[in-house]
């Protein structure tokens, strides 16, 4: 094939923290396409770039790795892509190995391993400005000779060396038109082969690289504080506190805006359309439904802004280090920290972030407990029930009782997640301990543009999911709550006669022991689409129009119709119940198995029922059974 007629493909390979993604962003700008590799759930990032000679090249950003000997699903993709084994993916024309110029030791071994594959290759020495500032001398000509590959120096954050890199890639691609087919001479190296490669790399280091005159001492100094067993943990807690404040306080105005926007839009559309079924489908089903998910965009953007900034700064590996043993007591891996943290905004990005965990067992444990963390979709439900049943008074002189209950619900989520993972570890995977080992990269100032591009990508993925998964689900839920129509002369709310109503009525006996009435059970059915939908559904069942905005009206109705015990049982139910089909769909996709999704549904509903039952019975025994009291 001639690269004159189709875009040449280049694939970026490199160690984690080599600035590979920054280089990818510098090459492609915001023109990136994110999808999944066929059959696996590893994110596939591709972009296009035009070289100085006018050719278009496609760039593939492969997951970072130290070796082609893959351990995690991410690394397996890198290996298979480089070897040309990936189904539905043509092998790259040129492999660009991205190296942190200040940290060459390990990547030189990777370069030697990549060379064995036999594909045309270019080595990009990234962060070259930092190397120069440190007084690190790299004899480029000698390194070229020793490695036998062309070398380009780049500074991805300043877009330096990009044109050189592209020119070199083109030269190599044109020269290498006769590709060595197949996998070249690569095979999985054994320990002694790795040692031998290390010795070669070490020899090359000694002859071509003079150690820095002014090595980076700042990272060590910052670590003295940030990795301190006590101060480091306190700083981590402080950071988490700021993050939560930001996610909940800063996002509020934007969320109100989105809410009002969708309400306005729905109103306008409703005004233009004739009353009837189509109007109901579009306004109540689609616009309100999608709006109820998109409202979480500000929280997700803020959360990801923190995560991306901390990641780029080099802090996330430190957070995993600080938390490893603390979470290890509950059978969780240090790397599970970030996925579980993300799950406070929404379990979906949290479950997806679990991809970075090498071991399948640790990853599965993390995925299974992520939905127990209190996601922001629970907040409307908690707020409603708390407003209805918890008096707005001050206890101990300073704390608001309502706030305390909210805090208790968060704590219940965390404690149950830790307990469940402890049980999974003890019962299913007894004795198997996955090693915790990771590089703690040198601290770097995040690059604003790269951060923005990554943030935009996250937002885009979230919005696309809202369109592709949530929209059809919302239509389904609308269908179930609309059809069949109430019979002529019916007195109740239309939803009572619909499929959702029938399901609710049929399930009512099951829920009676935990104190739920039939109205609540009906609300749980559409509430499967997303947790906060239950609020709107309760509004529908109790005929409180516009429940989301008239929250106080609904709260008044509920406090008159439910006993305190029922209200508390409903809260307990929501701590555990997997009332979120999108999460379940993501679990199915990420674990690639119906089995794990089913286990999640069963265990979470089981816990929800148990939690609500105990809460209801205890509250009854303590005298919380009076309706309207």
């Amino acid at each position: 094939m001639d690269i004159a007629v189709r875009p040449a493909r280049l694939a970026l390979v490199g160690n984690p923290n080599s600035g590979k993604t920054a280089l990818f962003n510098a090459l492609t700008g915001a023109h990136q396409k994110v999808a999944n590799y066929a059959g696996v759930t590893v994110e596939r990032k591709e972009g296009l770039v035009r070289s100085a000679s006018g050719r278009t090249l496609s760039v593939l950003d492969l997951p970072g790795t130290y070796s082609l000997r893959a351990r995690s699903p991410d690394e397996a993709v890198t290996r298979d892509a480089v070897l040309g084994r990936l189904a539905g993916e043509s092998p790259p024309d040129v492999v660009v190995c991205v190296a942190d110029a200040t940290n060459l030791r390990l990547v030189l071994r990777l370069v030697l391993e990549l060379k064995a594959v036999g594909r045309p290759m270019v080595l990009a020495l990234n962060m070259y400005d930092i190397a120069q500032r440190q007084g690190l001398r790299i004899d480029l000509d000698r390194l070229r000779g020793a490695l036998g590959v062309p070398i380009v120096t780049t500074v991805a954050t300043r877009k330096r060396g990009i044109a050189d890199l592209l020119a070199e890639v083109e030269t190599v691609a044109l020269a290498g038109t006769v590709l060595p087919q197949g996998e070249g001479a690569w095979h999985e190296p054994d320990a002694n082969e790795i040692r031998a490669a290390h010795r070669d790399a070490e020899r090359i280091m000694r002859t071509c690289v003079r150690p820095p005159e002014r090595p980076d001492t700042l990272t060590g100094k910052i670590d003295t504080l940030l990795l301190h067993p006590v101060a480091g943990l306190l700083i981590l807690l402080g950071l988490l506190f700021v993050m939560f404040q930001a996610v909940f306080a800063w996002a509020a105005p934007a969320m109100d805006g989105i809410d009002a926007g969708f309400a306005l839009f729905g109103g306008v559309v409703a005004g233009f359309m004739p009353d009837g079924l189509l109007e109901s489908l579009i306004v109540d089903g689609m616009i309100a439904g999608v709006g109820s998910v998109i409202i979480f965009l500000p929280q997700i953007v803020i959360l990801f802004a923190f995560i991306i900034l901390l990641e780029d700064f080099g802090y996330m590996a430190r957070a995993a280090f600080l938390m490893d043993r603390i979470m290890g007591g509950a059978g969780l891996h240090g790397r599970a920290f970030i996925p579980l943290l993300s799950s406070f905004a929404c379990a979906i990005p949290g479950i997806m972030a679990a991809r970075t965990i090498d071991s399948r067992q640790d990853r599965l444990t993390t995925i299974m407990v992520a939905p127990l963390m209190t996601c922001s979709a629970r907040i409307p439900v908690y707020t409603l029930i708390i407003a209805a049943f918890i008096p707005n008074e001050t206890v101990w002189g300073f704390a608001s009782l309502q706030g305390l209950v909210m805090f208790g619900l968060y704590a219940a989520g965390i404690v149950s997640a830790l307990t469940v993972s402890f049980v999974i570890r003890r019962v299913f995977w007894r004795g198997q301990v996955e090693p915790f080992m990771m590089e703690l990269p040198a601290y770097k100032l995040p690059d604003a543009k790269s951060v923005l591009i990554n943030l935009w990508l996250r937002a885009k993925i979230f919005l696309m999911r809202a369109g592709k998964i949530i929209l059809p689900l919302m239509i389904l839920v609308w269908l179930a709550s609309t059809f069949p129509y109430p019979p002529a002369g019916a007195t109740g709310q239309p939803i009572e006669y619909s499929l959702a109503g029938m399901i609710g009525r049929a399930l009512e006996p099951i829920f009676a022991p935990i104190g739920f009435n039939w109205q609540m059970v009906i609300a749980l059915v559409p509430g499967m689409a997303a947790r906060e939908v239950a609020v709107a559904a309760l509004g529908t069942v109790y005929a409180v129009s516009d429940a989301e905005t008239a929250m106080s009206g609904l709260a008044a109705v509920l406090s008159a119709q439910w006993s305190l015990a029922t209200g508390l049982a409903f809260l307990a139910w929501y701590v555990f119940a997997p009332q979120c089909v999108p999460t379940l769909a993501v679990v199915k996709r990420e674990t690639n198995s119906w089995k794990w999704m089913t286990i999640m549904i069963v265990y979470m509903f089981g816990l929800a029922y148990l939690g609500a039952f105990v809460t209801y019975r205890v509250a009854l025994a303590l005298g919380g059974g009076n309706v309207g009291g």
Partner: protein, 93 residues
């Protein structure tokens, strides 16, 4: 006095040279763990310096390995044998 220890026994501030990778109480995943350690730069001859440790059971540990920083648990560190630098070791090098 022996100054050859498993890295898992090292204390904050200890410096030394890796003399052996492997052995320890490795189970059936021996060669896998050995290869992963090697790939992260824990190779015979590498200089190590224990710089930080966690709050629970002094675990995990953060090490300077040649010119990079790596974190691992003491459990994995048990598979690395190091020769501690004696008071005059640096002068002798």
């Amino acid at each position: 006095m022996s100054n050859v220890i498993q890295l898992s026994e090292a204390r904050v501030g200890d410096r030394g040279v890796i003399t052996h990778v492997g052995g320890g109480r490795m189970g059936e995943h021996d060669s896998e763990l050995e290869r992963r350690l090697l790939e992260l730069g824990f190779v015979e001859g590498a200089q190590v310096h224990l710089i930080h440790q966690g709050i629970v059971r002094r675990d995990p540990i953060a090490l300077r390995v040649d010119d990079m920083t790596v974190a691992l648990r003491r459990r994995e560190a048990a598979n690395l044998t190091i020769q501690l630098n004696g008071p005059f070791a640096e002068a002798a090098e």
